[in-house]
């Protein structure tokens, strides 16, 4: 899955500094359809010159759905990746889509699915907001668009590996 960069302004990256870490999941296309909620969306801050970083969150769909794409004006190429461990070798590879079973929280974190922002337009600083557009398809083929604002946490923030 690959997206061409949109030439959008990323001033929001630097100007919007939310105190909250919880997120807004908001604009829906379509009508009376399934809804997906987003919690705890965050991105890892970078050092100057670091061209990629990850974004993390928990998604919950109220009906069986599939996350089919993620886009962001913050990076040239935004992809869904999955970390897998084989022996002691960690691989992080792109996946085309992620199933969101009804009512089941799907955690995007360092150890599983995560959003890769590759070719960052600018440094992501702690507190910056990284806008993400998630496209989710339900079993009927209807698409839902979720606008997510991932707030950047420090590069050295621990992952919530053992939290769930």
């Amino acid at each position: 899955m690959k997206f061409v960069a949109k030439k959008l302004s990323v001033t929001t990256l630097n100007t919007v500094r939310h105190a909250t870490l919880l997120i807004a999941a908001l604009s829906f296309t379509g009508h009376a359809m399934a809804q997906t909620t987003v919690e705890d969306a965050w991105a890892r801050a970078t050092v100057p010159g670091q061209p990629a970083t990850g974004a993390f969150m928990t998604l919950k769909a109220d009906a069986d759905s599939t996350l089919i794409s993620v886009q962001s004006p913050a990076a040239k190429d935004t992809q869904i990746h999955q970390s897998t461990m084989k022996g002691d070798v960690m691989s992080m590879l792109p996946v085309d889509e992620v199933s969101l079973p009804a009512g089941e929280p799907v955690v995007f974190d360092a150890n599983g699915y995560h959003i890769m922002l590759m070719g960052l337009v600018t440094q992501v600083k702690e507190g910056d907001t990284v806008p993400l557009t998630l496209k989710i398809k339900n079993a009927q083929g209807e698409e839902e668009t979720l606008e997510v604002k991932a707030v950047a946490r420090a590069l050295n923030a621990p992952d919530h590996v053992h939290a769930h």
Binding site: R44, V47, M85, S91, L93, P94, A110, N156, P158
Partner: protein, 201 residues
């Protein structure tokens, strides 16, 4: 080191192994770790020669007297690299004053994209005492081989990611490889095993 003898207290529960280790910190002492893997009988990573971001050549003996913990990664790694470095920061804190002797060394597997500047800023953000090392592509491949570290570039769109061994390798203060810490261990578990290494040498 002046305070060296006081560090030779035998850890409760180490029993005979601990006493054996007291006899001298030789290479063949097997250690009993609660969480990590004993690598005392493995000969890995002894002869690496890489540069720090300031251009100084570093070898294992550059860190003599410290307890080096070597980890391989790349700064564009979203997951295991920052979490392993963050875990090292926590483990170091949990070790109290002994943590001052832990020398975290991050060796990049991606010298093409990890410039000295990016690398330095990256590791120092975790802890100003952490050191990043970098070689040419050939040197990187050699060092990885010496540690039996697997790494592989995987093309992704018009860029690439790197699959790699996620183990941290711990040497004692005389440069003897002792311990392998897997990615799945917590900071507390790492700290306990690191203190065990420290008790011995």
């Amino acid at each position: 080191m002046n305070d060296f003898p006081t560090r030779r207290r035998v850890l409760a529960g180490m029993g005979i192994l601990g006493l054996g280790a007291l006899a001298g910190c030789g290479d063949s002492n097997k250690l009993s770790f609660k969480h990590g893997k004993d690598l005392s009988n493995e000969i890995l990573g002894r002869t690496f020669r890489l540069k720090d971001p300031q251009g100084n050549e570093k070898t294992l003996s550059s860190f003599r007297g410290m307890m080096p913990m070597v980890f391989f990664g790349f700064t564009q790694c979203p997951a295991v690299c920052p979490t392993t470095l963050a875990r090292a920061v926590q483990a170091k804190k949990l070790m109290g004053r002994d943590g001052d002797r832990l020398q975290v060394i991050f060796i990049t597997l991606d010298p093409e994209r990890d410039t000295p500047e990016v690398l330095d800023a990256y590791v120092k953000l975790f802890d100003p005492t952490f050191v990043a090392l970098r070689g040419t592509l050939e040197q990187t491949a050699e060092v990885a081989k010496e540690f039996k570290v697997f790494f592989e570039k995987v093309p992704v769109g018009d860029t690439y990611t790197i699959s790699h061994t996620s183990t941290s390798y711990v040497f004692d203060s005389r440069g003897v490889l002792r311990l392998g810490l897997s990615h799945s261990l917590t900071a507390q578990e790492c700290a306990e095993d690191l203190l065990t290494v420290m008790e011995v040498c």
